[in-house]
Symmetry: C2
Subunit: 266 residues, 2 copies
């Protein structure tokens, strides 16, 4: 597919974008890193796993789909690593899955939902579900002018002021890195990113969604308090199932709110 | 497209893989992160930039292609960040570009070529071109059993014993992370990875190539000595153009060697 090079085509594309923004949302794509996070939502929306993959042969990516109210809902997960059998978490597989899902499913809106660490100093508690206002990376340090900004890769989530207000969701900035823990340099970057929640996929989903110009929002449920007393891995595993239920509830409310609305009404 | 689930299909796929391995290589895909690294090779192989992109509208990815001896050569670069204008380095864009290029161009062999930092303690000097025997990540710490191994993501490069011997290339392990510098935790992981060279893309290219089962090799030219006296960013920028020429020479020799051979003869 060739990009439009002339002004007429560019103008047409812009008009098209505008009408897309005002058209009721039809296709919602959830991108969820872990099976444990996805399962309650798959059940809630009564989705089924597709028998024939829309993805290339050999990739572990899993897709569930179905109709809920007026919406076509897809939930995609990066699936189990082919050799190690664990969920394919992190930025590389999240970005690949986002890219391939956009190409295959043409969503109107992406919702990256999942668990996250939270900072109590910024107002986060276990079980809180945050809507991210901004996303950025905290483990891509490139100390060369302009490359440094590229590394941080800060970008705004698609603005959803009505959604945040109506559902009374906490709003905060999200910082993404490929480690479950954080080293001193990560921590300094997270502070510089002014983040309330920390995950392992958000900014990568945002990057891929932005490349292909699909609106993306981020729902992150807090499984562990990073600036607390307990070790992150232990607290994360202890709270994962319970917090997945909170995430499930919030995601359902978000989908109910979205139903019948256009992107510009969010 | 559905993956083959029955034994007959799996056997057919294996036979197919085997015949692919023995067929002369026809399509070679270079994945190169920076324009400065790519330009000498684009000129050497007299490649041209495609007027109509094989990639989706809006992505900054650039493709050069042409015929060199009996080979179709494609060089793809992640291109300039749409907002910041710098080369889109790092694992996320490298994995996306690898995935999309395999889908669009169906290469027989991927060569991820680029610059890298080297460890003099492991035998690296400025201007050396290494062929990576193995790749792994050094900035994906997930201290949960099995997830820890997934984070490191260690995998072998496609084995090319004849190539290494014939061209007398130095062989070493490659460690990949999204930072140009390294923090103490990165350094410990690089040591654990037994790495001689350090880059920002290799393991991500390997991951995407592995997902789609395309053989990948890694040519990394040393621009800076990590365990030396000079600051990495300064040394990298100083040596970038000169070392790109060394990389260019090695890459040409590799392509000359590949010409007329099958993957199993490398």
């Amino acid at each position: 597919m060739a990009p439009p090079h002339d002004d007429k085509a560019a103008a047409a594309a812009e008009v098209n974008d505008e009408s897309t923004a005002k058209r009721p949302i039809s296709n919602v794509l959830f991108i969820i890193a872990m099976q444990t996070e996805a399962s309650p939502l798959v059940n809630k929306f009564q989705l089924v796993e597709e028998p024939e993959s829309v993805f290339p042969k050999g990739v572990p990516w899993v897709r569930y789909y179905g109709k809920y109210k007026d919406l076509n809902i897809n939930i995609v997960c990066p699936g189990k690593d082919k050799i190690l059998g664990v969920d394919s978490v992190g930025t590389v597989s999240a970005s690949l899955l986002t890219y391939a899902s956009i190409q295959a499913l043409q969503p109107d809106l992406i919702i990256n939902a999942g668990t996250a660490g939270g900072f109590k100093a910024k107002g986060a508690s276990i079980g809180d579900v945050f809507l991210a206002s901004d996303v950025a990376f905290h483990d891509r340090r490139i100390p060369i002018p302009v490359f440094d900004l590229y590394g941080v890769g800060s970008r705004q989530a698609f603005p959803t002021p009505n959604l945040a207000k109506e559902l009374n969701l906490k709003v905060g900035k999200l910082s993404t890195g490929d480690s479950l823990d954080m080293c001193a340099q990560d921590e300094a970057a997270i502070v510089a990113n002014d983040a309330t929640v920390k995950d392992m996929e958000g900014a990568a989903v945002a990057y891929a969604a932005d490349l292909l110009e699909v609106p993306a929002i981020f729902l992150k449920a807090v499984t562990d308090i990073i600036d607390g007393d307990k070790p992150t891995a232990e607290e994360f595993l202890q709270n994962l199932a319970a917090v997945a239920a909170a995430l499930d509830l919030a995601a359902t409310q978000v989908v109910d709110f979205i139903n019948g609305k256009s992107c510009s009404e969010l």
